[in-house]
Symmetry: C2
């Protein structure tokens, strides 16, 4: 148990944007919401998973929608609280703590804003250990936790509650409502007990992202290479270094989908790669079709100068970046995990191979 | 107060299909559901509006979706009951009676199926006095009744509850859920008190549709003209007589939209008209653009032989029909009524002129 103040939030936001793996929402908007709440209501208690009582009710607080939209359609700050309050009334039990659903720029921050306002702790864990585009793509689902009853609130004051037969249906129905609500909404979902959190969550992810964010900050103040600092703090691998030379992006059906192409620089000169995404980066491959990395491993484009993650919605022609890959949590490497978020789920005719094996078999070659 | 059995249901279904004004769902499917429930659970009590206690809770039971879809995706019969039961639990009060939301082939029948099963009465009134394509297009809305809390259930077992800032938002959100649920769902909405029913509903519409259905049945058994019988029983006007020579129909965004063209026969030979629809018929005009009738008046195509309504989803090339227009209820002829369901709401640059005036000013000419 420790306190999270403005300084910690700054590091977590930067690190979570890396774990957002191209998606997860804009870290700047999320950070402002969390900092504003902490300045108004005080610091937030961060609980280790082991410190959560078995019978405590823990509810993730999160945003749904395409990150491209959230840059311009900023939450009013009340939707997440309304969703929480409606869910509490419905289940008829006090909510003891909140938890991020994913480690993305925005969805890592919303729980801190909610926690500060309500005076409840945040649990140091999440349901992805990264960001994913769809609601059912959480380790909570793998562990049998139901996403519903789920409350969805928009900034206009509309509230929708779902009770579904499975978590994929929750995604389908809530996405449809989100799209007609203007493209982004706030959710309270996956209400679970402390013991379910212990069984199904990815532990310590907030501290992990904080460590990565801090490494970037320290590298900057020491004038050392921030990308190297990220690789060291995250256990990731460098895949490529280049300039964005082409980008295709389409906001459709509640997602931003597209691909970016990069031309190599330095030791990668003369080579080029393509990264495809649906909110988050899904697959990186060479121009001649050799797969470099796929979901569920984390494919991240870092700004070559600052080490900060470049999200899919802010990628611009000419950005110079280092593409890295961070191994995903072991929960995603099970049969059920790969079925839920592996390359085949996203329509790629490719088997999942852990990034460590891909790197090893490449034997130093590109 | 009187009892509604299978014989009455047959007449109501036929008459309600006329008042469905091209939409309102297939009368056959609805009739089967109601008759099945009455045979199993017994006859249904039909209450006059004046007989409903002021503080009784009355809840409409209805289908949402494109009628084209409902022909093939038949309800399993439990969705409407689930929606009712979830709404009852949410508001924490017993539901004393149900009422049709509209006088369409299907939505006039669902309340009888629900009422028979639950052993509650149906109120002889509705919220349209006809059918309309969108959820907020009810006289309940004009009278300030909220559509939410509303429960939407699909046949798979998913349930969604809405609490919105206005009835148009309920339409938007529920339509989105209905589309991704396969195109049709069942609703419990517009929960209101007996006194609200008295103030805002269109009274006696079930008896009116029964009278029209009975007139068609009697004309058939007497070998007299069934179209004349409909005109007499409904107070409608004949607009045209012809053959369907062209039909455009598209199921899109939860509606069936399109237009049908008819070539005149008998005294209309050499003339032709076009009818545009969104689930229900919206406007009838001559080929050279002269408006014959618009919403909110009821434009209905009757089969020339049987007098039965031909719904927009069953219109076929070669159908011979008589186009009639029945004056709408006075509630729709107010400023608020015309704003909600007049031709301009549907995108036509035309003022609403009551059909009686149009007929009078035409002075016998086409």
């Amino acid at each position: 148990m420790r306190k999270i103040g403005v300084k910690e939030i700054e590091d977590i936001a930067v690190g979570a944007a890396v774990y957002g793996t191209g998606g997860g929402g804009d870290p700047y908007v999320g950070k402002l919401m969390a900092i504003d709440a902490i300045k108004t209501y005080g610091e937030v208690t961060l609980l280790d998973v082991d410190e959560v009582p078995e019978d405590a009710i823990v509810v993730p607080s999160s945003m749904m929608g395409a990150p491209t939209i959230l840059i311009e359609k900023i939450p009013n700050g009340k939707e997440a609280l309304s969703a929480f309050s409606l869910l509490k009334n419905y289940i008829g039990k006090e909510i003891s703590a909140t938890i991020p659903i994913e480690a993305g720029g925005l969805n890592s921050m919303i729980p801190f804003a909610v926690a500060a306002t309500l005076g409840i702790p945040v649990v140091d864990a999440d349901g992805m250990g990264r960001a994913f585009p769809e609601l059912q793509m959480v380790t909570f689902s793998l562990g049998g936790v139901k996403s519903t009853p789920m409350i969805l609130c928009d900034e206009k004051g509309n509230a929708t509650m779902f009770n579904t037969i499975n978590n994929k249906w929750t995604e389908t129905l809530a996405r449809a409502v989100t799209v007609v609500s203007g493209g982004s909404t706030m959710l309270a979902s996956y209400a679970m007990t402390g013991s379910q959190v212990k069984e199904t969550s990815i532990k310590g992810i907030i501290s992990t992202t904080e460590k990565v964010g801090r490494a970037i900050r320290i590298a900057k103040s020491n004038n050392t290479n921030p990308v190297d600092a990220v690789l060291k703090a995250s256990g990731g691998f460098e895949l490529f270094k280049g300039k964005i030379c082409d980008i295709l992006r389409k906001t459709d059906g509640g997602f931003v989908r597209g691909e970016s192409k990069m031309m190599g620089i330095d030791e990668y000169k003369g080579k080029s790669i393509k990264i495809e995404f649906q909110n988050e980066n899904l697959m990186a491959q060479t121009d001649d079709g050799k797969v470099l990395a796929t979901v569920p491993d984390l494919i991240v484009v870092l700004d070559i100068e600052t080490g900060h993650a470049i999200t899919t919605e802010t990628l611009r022609y000419g950005n110079r970046g280092v593409v890295i890959c961070i191994p995903c949590d072991e929960k995603w490497r099970t049969e059920a995990g790969i079925k839920t978020v592996g390359p085949r789920y996203f329509g790629y005719d490719v088997n999942y191979v852990p990034i460590e094996q891909r790197i090893k078999s490449r034997m130093g070659e590109f």
